[in-house]
């Protein structure tokens, strides 16, 4: 996948993320303070603007993801802005000078992005955060580096969604949900769902083509 195709894929993903706001808001009203969906909508609406601006001309795939991350971080604020911004910025930094996105590059993006997120927020798998979806996706991607991106992405996206589903059984230890304790059991973490949605929509786009 080249830079132009990636740009189209992320535009589609951003549009779907904006449309997912009510679902994410409903989830966050149960376990958080109700602003997660609104924040994601604000962030990805800014991404749509960025990607539709002809003056936005990233030099390579790493640079593209870094700029997406910076835009998320500055337009969203909140924990989500810091975390999703860090994912794209750190993941992007690890693949600068790459002109072709394949399964191996994408695995590196997810792995290094996850490291960046961990250093920023200290959340580990099992803590009922977006990391549960991201780590599942990252581990899955590591096993699929010999496949094409088209073959690997559906499996990566599915792993992320399974990771998000598993957060239903977890007790939150981070963010505002932690004060609910056992009351969070039975509900998915909205950040994990967002993470899974991003990968799902990337995959949906590839397979619509």
């Amino acid at each position: 996948m080249n830079l132009l195709q990636l740009r189209k894929m992320m535009l589609f993903t951003a549009q779907r993320m904006v449309e997912s706001e009510p679902e994410l808001t409903a989830l966050d009203q149960i376990v958080g303070d109700g602003d997660h969906g609104i924040g994601m909508k604000r962030g990805f609406a800014s991404i749509i603007e960025l990607l539709q601006d002809e003056k936005f001309q990233p030099t390579d795939i790493g640079d593209f993801f870094i700029k997406i991350g910076t835009k998320l971080m500055t337009s969203m604020g909140g924990a989500s802005g810091a975390i999703f911004g860090t994912l794209f910025r750190t993941g992007g930094k690890s693949i600068v000078n790459t002109m072709e996105l394949n399964a191996e590059v994408f695995a590196k993006f997810l792995n290094d992005g996850w490291q960046g997120v961990y250093q920023r927020g200290n959340a580990e798998p099992g803590d009922k955060t977006m990391v549960d979806a991201l780590s599942a996706a990252s581990k899955s991607a590591n096993e699929l580096t010999n496949l094409t991106l088209n073959e690997a992405l559906p499996i990566i996206a599915k792993s992320a969604m399974e990771g998000a589903e598993k957060t239903k059984q977890m007790v939150a230890v981070f963010g505002r949900a932690k004060n609910l304790g056992d009351r969070t059991i039975g509900h998915m973490d909205p950040g994990a769902v967002s993470m899974a949605f991003i990968l799902k929509y990337m995959n949906d786009y590839i397979h619509m083509q």
Partner: protein
């Protein structure tokens, strides 16, 4: 089901309009950085450490409403209930810092922590020195053994008071300022109670709702869960329990001097607030705790949430001296 009803314009413009409102309300004493939704006071001197705060909108007059002489110096306004982003904090810091260092002072929430930390790292690369205090006064949010996990709520106002007095009037350096604000933070305790929920401007639903005959003890300022939900009872019963929790937590002892804050979370009447204040006074008197000063009103709200919080700050001579210095801010004057 009851629906929220708010007198607003475009809900997506709330924080910018709040910022514009603040500029008018301050009537010449406040400068805005509109592109970054940040504001700072025109009182800042070249000799002081700059105290910067920030946080989600929806808690007015916290946080920006405490800018002024004897208060904080600058504030980055986040979206409603959302921390500001690093570029806001960085631009505000660069606009105000004067080479004496900067104290970041804000409530202990994961979003605020990460965004201020990212800002501090970037500012350090440009040789701007910062130190950070996170207010952790909400006793319902974590046990005493995990004090650093606690949320910051209305008690941050006392930290602003101490920080502003020490930096502006007593010219504390960054390290000494950090130490005295950390001491104040260790001496402040808050607990809140909600009668009903609040709704974000963009939302058609309340974040949570309580039954007609239900209250929640220990509520957070974004509607975070408290200690428990229980049947509605009398004001005196509720206050008695809250004071018990507060005095147990520090703990407060006979002859301790305290500052008291009775904070409206949004929608209580002044009548209710004064009935609460009466019982707080009685309870503290019964324990032999000396009320040095007491503030009653809207200080750290949760949009239109019906409820209130009680904060106590235990004083020593240094804190009392700093507390007694004047302050002229929009949200609070002394």
């Amino acid at each position: 089901m009851r629906k929220p009803k708010k007198l607003l314009n475009d809900p997506n413009n709330v924080r910018q309009e709040v910022m514009q409102g603040l500029v008018y309300a301050y009537n010449g004493k406040l400068t805005a950085i509109p592109d970054y939704c940040a504001v700072y006071g025109n009182h800042i001197s070249n000799e002081q450490v700059v105290v910067i705060s920030g946080g989600g909108s929806g808690h007015e007059p916290t946080f920006a409403g405490f800018i002024g002489e004897g208060g904080i110096d600058g504030c980055a306004l986040g979206e409603v209930f959302t921390s500001p982003s690093p570029d806001q904090i960085i631009e505000l810091t660069k606009a105000t810092e004067n080479g004496n260092g900067v104290l970041f002072l804000y409530g202990n929430y994961s979003g605020d922590g990460m965004n201020f930390d990212i800002s501090a790292e970037i500012l350090a690369e440009e040789n701007i020195v910062t130190k950070t205090i996170r207010a952790t006064d909400d006793i319902a949010s974590a046990p005493l053994s995990k004090l650093s996990d606690r949320r910051g709520v209305a008690g941050i106002m006392f930290l602003y008071k101490i920080a502003g007095a020490a930096s502006q009037f007593e010219k504390y350096n960054l390290e000494n300022l950090y130490q005295v604000v950390a001491k104040a933070n260790a001496n402040v305790r808050t607990i809140g109670v909600a009668l009903d929920g609040c709704a974000l401007p963009q939302s058609n639903n309340f974040n949570f709702e309580l039954d007609e005959n239900e209250i929640e003890i220990g509520i957070g300022i974004h509607g975070e869960a408290g200690l428990r939900r229980q049947a509605m009872t009398s004001s005196d019963e509720v206050v008695k329990e809250m004071i018990h929790h507060l005095c147990d937590d520090l703990p407060f002892q006979t002859d301790d001097r305290v500052c008291v804050l009775i904070n409206n979370l949004g929608a209580l009447s002044n009548t209710e607030l004064l009935v609460i204040t009466r019982k707080v006074g009685i309870e503290l008197n019964n324990r032999g705790i000396i009320i040095h000063d007491i503030a009653v009103g809207h200080f750290c709200t949760s949009l239109e949430m019906s409820g209130f919080s009680i904060t106590l700050m235990k004083l020593d001579d240094e804190l009392q001296h700093l507390y007694d210095l004047p302050c002229q801010t929009l949200g609070w004057r002394k």
